[in-house]
């Protein structure tokens, strides 16, 4: 769970969604900070009062001066060493979906912590999180996502569903190349299913398709979708790869993206890239 949570608020309903989600994800006794980003032209603490009342919890208020909300929140997360940053959806987004605006998505890219995007209307529907979905592909990042989902489920009494999307690239990147890879897509899906069934306490499924699209469709059945971020690039940072980037604008539930593991927490760079990359000549 998360100990040091920063929530972006701006007085709009979407911000209330973010606060509601943050309360679900924060550890009991964890620190919750509401941050309002502005360009230095308004006494923003006053604006935060309604958000504070709505939150109904002990929180710290922070007024942040920056050119853009995403940039300000990113920088504040670095300053306060937050382990989670929660934002609401863009107001153009559809009800029940997570949607980030382009600028905010770019600004959160490279963030030093996990980022959660509350689906629009989360605060009103405000059901407890009953079903948590995990994008699983056997990589260290997805294993960490599964572990966190189990932890969240244990504390909220939710159940965990996991989906492995089999596309030829994702299989090869995980390092799990089944012996039967040449047989057929059906065989690949079957072996993925066997792998998913072996996961304890998890309702696992495997299908063939494009990971972003299939996971977006899968998210319809869950209250929160947890995904790892890309398995290369700067460690301990959340860098959007093509799948998490797609989900940040198409998920049909709230979305939680975890940063890349530090090298020591993963299997090590050799183990990860052993199958993916081998230089020759």
């Amino acid at each position: 769970m998360f100990e040091n949570v920063l929530v972006g608020v701006d007085g709009k309903p979407n911000a209330r969604d973010a606060v509601a989600l943050a309360r679900r994800l924060a550890d009991r006794g964890g620190q919750l900070t509401l941050g309002h980003v502005h360009r230095g032209e308004m006494p923003s603490i006053e604006l935060l009062d309604p958000a504070l009342a709505a939150a109904g919890v002990e929180v710290e208020l922070k007024s942040i001066v920056a050119s853009h909300p995403g940039a300000g929140l990113h920088q504040q997360a670095e300053r306060q060493h937050a382990d989670l940053l929660v934002v609401g959806s863009c107001s153009r987004g559809l009800f029940g979906r997570a949607t980030l605006g382009d600028d905010t998505r770019d600004a959160l890219n490279g963030a030093p912590c996990a980022v959660a995007v509350a689906a629009r209307g989360y605060a009103e529907t405000s059901t407890p999180i009953e079903t948590i979905g995990v994008a699983y592909d056997g990589s260290p990042e997805s294993a960490a996502a599964l572990e966190l989902a189990r932890e969240l489920a244990a504390s909220s009494g939710a159940n965990v569903k996991a989906l492995e999307v089999v596309s030829i690239p994702s299989l090869a990147f995980t390092g799990i190349v089944p012996a039967a890879i040449g047989d057929s897509i059906e065989a690949m899906v079957e072996s993925a299913k066997a792998r998913m069934n072996a996961l304890a306490d998890v309702d696992g499924k495997a299908i063939y398709g494009l990971p972003g699209e299939e996971l977006a469709a899968f998210s319809e059945q869950v209250d929160l979708l947890v995904v790892g971020s890309r398995g290369y690039g700067p460690v301990k940072r959340l860098v959007l790869g093509s799948t998490s980037n797609y989900l940040a604008s198409h998920a049909r539930s709230s979305l939680l993206v975890l940063p890349r593991l530090a090298a020591s927490q993963a299997d090590g760079p050799e183990a990860r890239s052993g199958v993916g990359v081998g230089a020759e000549i």
Binding site: A66, G110, V177
Partner: protein, 299 residues
């Protein structure tokens, strides 16, 4: 004066790859090291996995492709055949391994002639890269061997100062002219080194930007007003052979993180594009400029 010392270039036998080699040849230092990398699927392709002979065939043709590309470009370069399914990811990881200071790729085939265009997956893969990334405009190899007109996106930030230093260094070796464009949009003025209350009109702000630009030595500076910096900079590319921009000013240092402007330019620049990684933190703007200058000058 020297430029990049350790340059990695992605080639795939397409014209885009040849554009990349041509651009890399302009950006590499005289005694710098160039590596041409071709990414192939190898045994990761299921068809290959069950037909081992195909892997050997692919390996041989990959090597041949690399040799042909090197000979065609007439450059000295190390050759490297990398096994991976995503070219962008493989180049990103290879750049980390060989500690490249520049990675050069061509534009995606769907792009328009004379413009840069990266596919979605490649763009995602290069995001967070450990070095500068250059994208050759389509047709760069055929149209021009020289870089005569270099442009810099300038806004007074440390990142843009570093871009300016790189532009000057390159201009002196290429005998090119340097131009700087500052896109003034009001929100920028609320933060950063030029934080000031917004008083007066856009024309006053423009005038101030123009004055600042006129103080830059050896550079022809222009300031324009535009809501979206990316759009104005993309259009600026019409008059240039190479546009140099810094990457976003926050997030991991020494990494190239795409902000909204560089992200836009990767798909819309109308000339070749060079994006520099974020300079290390803790330096003042002046020190930072010197560091970048020293690195580029090889001093």
């Amino acid at each position: 004066m020297t430029m990049f010392e350790n340059v990695l270039v992605g080639v795939d036998g397409s014209p885009g790859g040849r554009d990349a080699v041509a651009l890399a040849a302009r950006l590499v230092a005289p005694h710098g090291h160039m590596t041409l990398a071709h990414v192939r699927e190898g045994e990761l392709n299921p068809l290959h996995a069950i037909t081992p002979k195909l892997v050997g065939v692919e390996r041989a043709s990959s090597q041949q492709l690399l040799e042909v590309e090197r000979a065609a470009a007439g450059v000295e370069a190390e050759l490297m055949s990398v096994v991976a399914l995503s070219p962008g990811r493989a180049l990103h990881e290879q750049a980390e391994r060989q500690r490249a200071d520049l990675l050069v790729v061509g534009s995606c085939r769907r792009g328009a002639f004379g413009r840069t265009m990266l596919g979605d997956d490649t763009r995602s893969a290069l995001n967070g890269a450990p070095c500068a990334v250059a994208i050759a405009a389509r047709g760069f190899a055929e149209s021009s061997a020289a870089i005569a007109r270099i442009g810099v996106a300038y806004n007074g930030s440390r990142e843009s100062e570093a871009a300016l230093v790189a532009a000057r260094a390159l201009a002196s070796t290429e005998d090119a002219s340097t131009r700087a464009l500052e896109v003034v949009s009001l929100p920028i003025y609320g933060v950063g080194p030029f934080a000031m209350p917004i008083v007066g009109s856009i024309s006053e702000v423009l005038e101030r930007a123009n004055r600042r630009l006129s103080e830059l030595q050896g550079v022809q500076g222009t300031a324009v007003y535009g809501l979206v910096a990316g759009e104005e900079l993309a259009a600026f590319g019409d008059e240039l052979d190479l546009l140099i921009v810094g990457s976003r000013s926050y997030g991991p240092v020494k990494r190239l993180m795409l902000g909204s402007t560089s992200d836009y330019l990767e798909r819309h620049a109308r000339c070749s594009l060079l994006v520099l990684p974020r300079p290390p933190a803790g330096d003042t703007a002046a020190q930072d400029g010197r560091t970048a200058a020293t690195q580029l000058a090889g001093v």
